[in-house]
Each structure stands twice: as C-alpha cells, then as structure tokens.
Symmetry: C2
Subunit: 233 residues, 2 copies
DNA sequence: ACCGTACTGCGAACAGCGTGCGCAGTAAAC
DNA sequence: GTTTACTGCGCACGCTGTTCGCAGTACGGT
C-alpha cells in the first residue's frame, strides 16, 4: 500500500485511542538494547518486551524493522548537537567530524547498519544542514558542495568503522593478522610476496598509546580537509 | 573449540574422503546468488542447494555464516587485479581507488556486509600490499602509511556505499527527499530552518548526466589525494 | 590385507526471527 | 447514539543459523 515515510505520518491519529507509546520511547528502547547488547539483540520481540507491550503492536508504530532502524539512527543523531558555526569552514567541518565520530563511537552499531537508504529524520537533517552550511560559500556550485560534504561525512563514517572493527578485534588490521595466528603471520612474512605488508605487521606489534586512534583520526582528518581546501575558491 | 581462521585450515584433510567441493566453488556460488538476488538471498540453505548438496554439509567447509561471508569478500577481491605499480604514488593510488570502486559497484553487497572483522584472504592481502606499496616511501613511519592507506580505502568504500544507496533509491540524498514526498520537501524548505539543505534539494532536482557519479568520484578522489600529498615528504 | 581412525555428507530438530491476519476494544466524529 | 477509524495483540506461517548424531569412506599404521 506504499505508506509515506515515517517522518510524515502523524504520531497520533485523528481517530481512535491514544497510542500507548511515543516514537521517542520506542527509539530509546531500541537504542538502549543495541548499546548494551549489540545490534543482533535488537529484534521486534525484544524491543516490544522492553516496552512491556505485545510484539506485533510495534507494527502500529513502525512499518517494519527497517523503519525501526531509521528511528534508531535519528535518535542517535540527537546524542550530540551539531556545533555552532564560527564562520571558519575548516574549524566548523573539523567540529562536525569530531562530533560525528563521537556519536559513532558511543553507538557502535550505527556504523554496522545496512544503510540501504538515507535516513532523513529531523536530527539527521540538522546535521546535514550544519555540514552544508560549513561547506557552502557563494560561487561554489551545489554539486561541489554535495561532493565535499559527502567526502567528509563518508570519511568520518569509514574511519569510525575501521576503528570499531579494530577495537573489537583488539588490534590493528595488520596486528590482527599477527594476533590471530602467529603461524599465518609468519607464512605471510616468510613468503616474501608482501614486503610492505610485512613491514606494517612487524611495526604494528609495537604497543601503541591509548589515544592512538584519536591521533590517527586527527591526522587523517587534516589530510582530508587539506584536500577539500583545494576545491574551494 | 576456537578453530584457526579459514585461511590456515587445509582445504583437504589428511584423512577421510575427498571433499565434494572446493572453497572456490562455494565462494563462487554464494557470490553468484548475492550478485543476482542480493545479500538477503544468501542463506546457508540457498548456497547449499546451489551446490547440489545438503544444507548442513556446508558446515564442513565453513565455521558459520560469517566465514562464508569472508570467502565471498575475498573471492570478490579477485574480480579485478591490483594495478601494476608505476612508481608515481599518486597515479598508483588513483588506480587502486578506481579498481576498488569498480569491484564494489560490480558487487553491491560488498559494501553492505557487516564487516565486523578484517578479511585477510590471499586476494585481500594482495590489495593491501599494493596499497601500502604505493603509499610507502623511505622516511615515512608505519603509522603514517597505515593512516594514508586507511584514508584512501575508507574513502573509496564510503563513496561506493553512498553511490549505491543513491543508485538504489534512484536519486541523490537530497533528491530522494524530494522524490520521496513532495510534501515533506516543501515542509523542510518552507520551515526556513534549513536554508543550505533547501538549496541542495532544489538544485538536486536538476537532471544529471549519466556519468555524474564517475565525475563526482574522480573529483572527490583528487581532493583526498591532494590531502594525502600534504602528509608526505 | 586389514583394521582403526579421522574424516565427510547430511537428515532431523530446535530456537529464534520478521511479519500478515483477524478480532476485540476504544475514542473521536457526526 | 451510532458510525468509523483507529489500537493492542494472540496466533500462525515460513524462514533463518546452527547443533547433534549417525552412516559411510578413505587413508595411516601394522
């Protein structure tokens, strides 16, 4: 029957009894489960139980599990507020990047979500607006603005993804290899086919500071911002 | 019982009957299904059926579905060969980026995979080696090499992700909003709270060339590479 | 040549999943 | 007060990943 997106449907219908729960409440419950037990623990049954309601009652609020995910994403985006603009695009974009990263680190499931479609809830819109505002200057065509914003947000998301993967695996991409199996690592190094990879693996065994990811992110972010600067007037 | 990673386990055991299938065969079957019908269609039963074998026989080859995914990823990475180095890091990195993007566009499910852990099959290793080789120069410390390689690969993956999302949704992130519901778009624009977003939405309605994504990627990639150049000697 | 052993293939079964359907109850509109 | 459009939700269906145990098979050691 092709319902309109959830952001357009009124929360309370014109007729009938008042719904027992709000979207806020539902999103909060789902986020709580995901934060505590991971994305896999977020099932319709589980969220319904969390709300003290019947399983299929959830479908009165949400068109399916995908829409539940939409609610979760938008809810998570309200976890930090977009930074207030300073007028310096570089400072503003860096602030957006750091704030976005913080949100994703606080909600690791965010970055694992299928993301088969854009989520356009009010909180997400606020982030987009702030990002576009930081990038946008007179004389820059819309395509370039979209490209620059996408480059930044895409980088943040990708970096958070890799960071979380490494955190959960307990080591660097290369270090993981070593840890996973000394034998495999030796085989890779010993084969002589991967000289540069071998160098990374060996140096990755060195213990790293606790703030390693923070510094790595800051450094890479500078690279990206420098790159974006080249595309501006 | 904590088995070693699949890349270390011999394909053929020392004792017992010869396995009826190879990993290649299994990976190929799974990839075929994913390419044709999407990631959701890839179930243990489906892949087993595709191979003409019993469902649970698959577990003789693979520790669980995650490992099946690992096989799929590594198999997809063999779909294009890493470019041969020219000695010019910028050219080489651009080649890696374009080749990786091509692979991801050919196998859209790649970028939707959970990616809860690094995949370190032989083909993936070859890509990593090539990427590190392009970035690596004497005098650059390993952390910087890892950072630059991660920045590039992360960007490519993120861009492909967004591109695929937009392709499937049939429009730009902003355009999607408009298409999804004229009413919502008008509400957003009319609210006056999102001036820059509104500008993007309006200009996104303009029809774009078929190669829009290609040009967008090329442009953004230049930005990133320029940024990386700043971190080198 | 033969036995023990370690494997392979796989049917049955289980718990859990997303979700469509239909019915009883309720609040607002007329 | 009647009609109407909603809400809550138990039931049921088909599907999922995965465990278990059993029959059959090929190799290693003797």
């Amino acid at each position: 029957m092709d319902r309109p997106p959830i952001w357009l449907r009124p929360e309370r219908a014109a007729r009938g009894p008042r719904p027992a729960h709000s979207r806020e409440e539902i999103a909060a419950a789902a986020v709580r489960v995901a934060d505590a037990e991971g994305l896999a623990a977020v099932s319709m049954r589980r969220v319904a139980t969390e709300l003290g309601t019947g399983t299929t009652s959830l479908y009165r609020y949400v068109d399916g599990k995908d829409e539940l995910f939409d609610l979760m994403v938008d809810r998570a985006m309200a976890d930090g507020r977009p930074p207030v603009p300073t007028g310096d695009w570089r400072v503003d974009l860096a602030a957006v990047a750091h704030a976005q990263r913080a949100i994703m680190l606080r909600h690791p499931w965010l970055v694992r979500l299928p993301a088969t479609r854009p989520v356009l809830g009010p909180n997400m819109l606020a982030w987009l607006e702030t990002t576009y505002a930081a990038v946008d200057v007179p004389g820059l065509d819309a395509d370039e603005v979209l490209a620059q914003a996408a480059t930044l947000l895409t980088f943040v998301r990708g970096h958070a993804m890799e960071e979380l993967t490494e955190r959960e695996a307990g080591s660097t991409m290369a270090g993981w290899l070593t840890k996973q199996s000394q034998q495999y690592a030796e085989q890779v190094i010993g084969s002589g086919d991967y000289p540069h990879l071998s160098r990374m693996m060996i140096e990755a065994e060195t213990p790293h500071a606790a703030d390693r990811f923070d510094r790595l992110f800051a450094r890479s972010l500078e690279h990206v911002l420098t790159g974006l600067a080249a595309g501006r007037g």
